[in-house]
């Protein structure tokens, strides 16, 4: 090989400068990410790619709290659409439990036992219908089969836990961050914190039947984005940022554990003969 050819090969394989790399190899991807606007969908996309500039943009917005609410609203809207698709595709690709449950109910209500019970107790029919529906809903939820009620309950609980978690976690983390020396106000933190919930959108991919997204993956992904939000908002050191990130969870777990322990203790204390037995064993 001639010297010129060798040099050409070396040049072709040399990506020592960022510009050369970006210009020759990833122009589309680089331009998109170097200059992106602050529309919520773009911000969410960049947050998923752990681009700290997205969090900076939300923090620097005129009303970070309102921007955060808009982003949360977008996430919930996308999850709502995904859940709707999941319900539809799930209905099309799973056995028709509604028909099966109706048939079984017809057979049960035709039994002599049912007739006797309904005659003896006027409220029996209604109670049975409610219990029967609840059992089938439980079967659907446990078995992962689609149901309209299950979808609505999941959406409402997701929205509630998202908003409540955002506010509660944000407040606790803010208190700790201020204690560690951070200067940003709560409203300025809640905006980037809302952006850190972007990984919840991964659950929306489960609209495809058979596709499962682990809760652990989303939780760890959200921990990462929350870390970036805390770090970029309060400009704390990595150690303090990590402490602010994890402390609210530790506090919550400790609180729940204490409440459970107290409940069990008080409950067991109602048993009259238990105390003497425990005294005997513990001396």
């Amino acid at each position: 090989m001639t010297k010129k050819a060798t040099a050409g090969v070396k040049k072709a394989h040399s990506y020592q400068t960022e510009d050369a790399f970006d210009r020759t190899l990833l122009p589309a991807l680089t331009e998109q990410r170097r200059h992106f606007d602050d529309r919520p969908p773009i911000l969410v996309r960049e947050a998923l790619l752990l681009n700290y500039r997205a969090f900076d943009k939300v923090k620097a917005a005129k009303d970070p709290l309102r921007r955060g609410l808009t982003i949360l609203g977008l996430i919930l809207l996308l999850l709502l659409v995904a859940r709707g698709l999941q319900l539809l595709l799930g209905y099309l690709t799973t056995p028709r439990f509604d028909v099966l449950s109706a048939d079984i109910l017809d057979q049960v209500t035709g039994l002599n036992w049912y007739t006797e019970q309904a005659t003896a107790n006027p409220a029996f029919a209604q109670q049975f219908a409610l219990a029967y529906e609840a059992v089938w809903q439980l079967i659907r939820v446990v078995g992962g089969f689609p149901s309209a009620l299950g979808t609505i309950v999941a959406l409402v609980s997701t929205a509630g836990s998202l908003l409540l978690g955002w506010l509660l976690y944000g407040s606790l983390a803010h208190v700790l961050a201020r204690w560690f020396g951070g200067n940003a106000p709560l409203k300025q933190f809640l905006g980037p914190l809302a952006l850190s919930y972007a990984p919840m959108l991964l659950f929306g991919l489960a609209f495809i039947p058979g596709l499962e997204i682990g809760g652990t993956l989303v939780f760890l992904y959200m921990l990462t984005t929350k870390f970036i939000a805390i770090r970029r908002t309060y400009l704390l050191s990595p150690g303090y940022s990590l402490a602010v990130l994890l402390a609210p969870y530790a506090f919550g777990i400790a609180l729940v554990a204490i409440l459970v322990a107290l409940s069990i203790g008080v409950g067991l204390g109602q048993i009259p003969y238990l105390d003497p037995i425990l005294n005997f064993f513990t001396g």
Partner: protein, 414 residues
């Protein structure tokens, strides 16, 4: 596309310049995510080898159809055998039970009687009837029967009361070693005193008929007890046979109902299409399954790297470690799953071994890429990167369990 493959190739061969450029480029995270998705989907494509088996699994309705075939076999082969066995059991038990209840001196007669009954084609009911009618024998006759050889009148009475068919009577007499029995019994079926006397004179010195008549003196209650103790009296056997005979039809009716229900509850798109869609979903889950396995390790490695003085940001570390998924296409055969009967078991095992060999090569290659990416992201030497990985595993598999155990011990100790 060509450029993307070029970068991918450089990642695989650990080209330093590419790693450093990826670290600094704003477009790198998007590229790494797309590469991760593409490579893990290629690896997960091994699942498609199990698609024929997944599609050929019988539906519930097909299982019901197979059960129906078994019910037909039951009806045509098994039930008749069972019914026949019940009848033979009845007859066999009759012989055994008669031997138990009759006096030892007439044990041979019990055998004879049972044979007579069997060969005569007498049913248990007829035998019981025979015995019951003897209950009408006056006490004097009964006493006479017990103490002395029976008279012709008694024999006549007994045989008439038995209401046996001529053929049955002939068979009984022939089996009781009475010689030319057919000539003894009139074709009209009547038993005259002369006939009975003749009969008796011919056999009075034989224990066969005497034993038979002694046995006939058994009371109706005693015979009924025998039949009840058998648990197989004719009425019961008849009912049992009827129930057994009805079982196949009842089963078939139940299966027909189940089949109709299962046809109705099929997914609207059909079972085959639904299974295919679920299969696609399972294949698309592959990147998320791999990410769920890799992310905890990567985050702990970030903590360890920072403790060792690493300078990389969160994004640089995470996307750098994601590059280790580049050789994941070698895991293709490890995702194959259950191939069913389409391929011989030995071949499936061989595929599994081959998959694990390739997987081992892939893991080793990924380890090297991980060291390279950690070195670039945190500006470590390769040895420090290796130490980071080692300490990560120590932290996860030793430190965390030990600390958890100690904490639990403290909490429970009080």
């Amino acid at each position: 596309m060509k450029h993307a493959l070029h970068i991918y190739s450089d990642i695989l061969i650990l080209r330093d310049g590419t790693y450093r450029a990826l670290k600094r480029s704003p477009g790198a995270p998007a590229y790494v995510v797309l590469m991760f998705l593409a490579v893990t989907l290629v690896a997960g494509a091994g699942k498609w080898l199990a698609l024929p088996h997944a599609l050929s699994r019988p539906t519930f309705a097909a299982v019901i159809d197979r059960a129906s075939e078994q019910v037909t076999f039951l009806d045509e082969q098994v039930v008749p055998s069972v019914q026949s066995a019940l009848d033979s059991v009845t007859q066999d038990n009759l012989r055994t039970t008669l031997a138990d209840v009759l006096p030892p001196t007439v044990t041979a007669t019990a055998e004879t009687l049972a044979n007579v009954v069997n060969r005569a084609g007498l049913t248990s009911q007829q035998l019981i009837d025979l015995i019951e009618t003897t209950a009408d024998v006056p006490d004097a006759v009964a006493a006479e029967l017990a103490n002395r050889p029976p008279t012709a009148d008694v024999v006549r009475q007994l045989l008439r009361a038995a209401a046996l068919e001529p053929d049955q009577l002939r068979t009984i007499l022939a089996t009781a070693a009475l010689g030319n029995a057919p000539s003894v019994v009139s074709e009209a079926g009547g038993i005259t005193s002369v006939l009975a006397g003749t009969l008796l004179s011919r056999v009075s010195d034989r224990t066969g008929l005497q034993g038979l008549l002694t046995t006939v003196a058994l009371t109706a209650d005693r015979m009924r007890t025998i039949a009840t103790s058998l648990g197989l009296d004719p009425v019961t056997v008849s009912r049992l046979n009827a129930r057994i005979g009805a079982v196949p039809q009842q089963l078939q009716d139940t299966l027909d109902i189940a089949h109709r229900e299962l046809e109705v509850v099929q997914p609207p798109l059909g079972t085959g299409v639904s299974r295919f869609i679920h299969f696609v979903g399972d294949w698309l889950s592959t990147p998320f399954q791999v990410a769920a396995a890799y992310l905890p390790l990567s985050l702990v490695a970030l903590l360890v790297a920072k403790m060792l003085g690493g300078k990389g940001t969160v994004a640089q570390h995470l996307f750098g470690t994601a590059l280790a998924a580049a050789p994941a296409f070698l895991l293709f055969l490890t995702f194959t799953g259950d191939l069913g009967n389409a391929i011989a078991l030995s071949t499936q095992y061989a595929i599994g071994v081959a998959g694990r060999i390739l997987g081992l090569i892939g893991f080793a290659w990924a380890f090297l890429i991980l060291i390279k990416s950690l070195s670039v992201a945190h500006e470590f030497s390769p040895w420090r990167s290796a130490a980071t990985i080692g300490l990560t595993y120590v932290a996860i598999y030793i430190l965390v369990p030990v600390l958890s155990f100690l904490a639990l011990g403290y909490l429970l100790r009080g």
